[in-house]
């Protein structure tokens, strides 16, 4: 029996729904990066040394939006909010399965590019606390 992929999530930023370019949403859970190293115990044997690099324990949330005026103004306000944005991602598939992730203290770190054109989109990336 097959399963249905979640391809149509809803994105709410600071309590307002955001119209997104379909299939443009991506995020990381904020679980960070880990390192695995080998320690020699002699005789050719190695022991695993596992470590957690908590410097990387932040989530990234990327999406694309169309360059309409409301979206551009919203984008400007998210940038002005510094790290006081809240993003809620929700999704439900046709078989009733749901997904919900919240990204607290989200911030637009880069100076995003506003592409104005008839078939252009604006790509934005938030950094936030690890998704809950």
């Amino acid at each position: 029996m097959g399963t249905i992929a979640l391809a149509n999530p809803s994105v709410v930023i600071n309590n307002e729904p955001v119209a997104i370019v379909p299939n443009s949403v991506k995020y990381t859970e904020g679980a960070g990066e880990q390192i695995m190293r080998a320690a020699s115990v002699g005789g050719g044997s190695v022991q695993q040394v596992f470590s957690d690099n908590i410097e990387t324990n932040f989530s990234k949330f990327t999406l694309s939006i169309y360059p309409d005026i409301q979206a551009i103004e919203d984008l400007r306000s998210w940038k002005k909010n510094a790290n006081q944005n809240v993003i809620v991602l929700t999704g439900k598939t046709k078989d009733g399965e749901t997904l919900r992730r919240t990204f607290n203290q989200a911030a637009l770190l880069n100076d995003y590019e506003v592409n104005l054109g008839s078939d252009t989109t604006i790509d934005i990336e938030f950094s936030a606390n690890a998704a809950v």
Binding site: V12, E16, N83, Q84, N85, V86, V88, N104, Q105, V132
Partner: protein, 162 residues
């Protein structure tokens, strides 16, 4: 009771705001974090909310006319309690509208637009938005409509009825 006593304007004696307590908390974003709200502050409507208020007031008037037409005088007298008529409140208003031929779905749609127009503040701070309204329980949403109508939209009509 899910609503605190309204705050009245000292000069005009009209309610300035009411606090509606939620039975089920609603999650929302505030100052960078997702928190749970437990009450909503409701402000009186202005001419800006005319488009949403007029149909609600009309729905109530149609409901009253329907009830008076369909219910016998004897039954109307039975609402007296110890010789005093029961006060018409939010619950009574919603019950009356439900019992009439008014389209409740339209009432809810107008109410949703009304609460989305800067007169409802979660925890007295954050403007209610569509996602927040959609997260409310049905009971809370319905009771909030009733209390808002009782205190602001049909208040002048209720004075006459009471």
């Amino acid at each position: 009771m899910s609503t605190e006593l309204p705050v009245f304007n000292e000069q005009t004696k009209e309610p300035e705001e009411i606090t509606f307590k939620l039975t089920k908390g609603v999650k929302y974003g505030n100052k960078g974090n997702e928190v749970e709200g437990t009450f909503i502050k409701l402000l009186p409507p202005t001419a800006k909310q005319l488009k949403q208020c007029v149909p609600l007031k009309q729905a109530f008037c149609r409901a009253v006319a329907y009830v008076e037409d369909k219910v016998s005088d004897e039954k109307l007298d039975n609402i007296k309690d110890d010789g005093v008529k029961k006060k018409v409140d939010g619950n009574s208003i919603m019950s009356a509208i439900y019992m009439s031929d008014v389209d409740m779905y339209e009432v809810f749609l107008h109410a949703k637009e009304l609460f989305n127009s800067n007169i409802a503040l979660m925890e007295g701070e954050v403007k209610m938005t569509k996602p927040m309204l959609e997260d409310m329980s049905n009971d809370d949403f319905e009771n909030m409509i009733g209390e808002y109508m009782a205190n602001f939209i049909v208040a002048s009509l209720l004075t006459e009825l009471n």
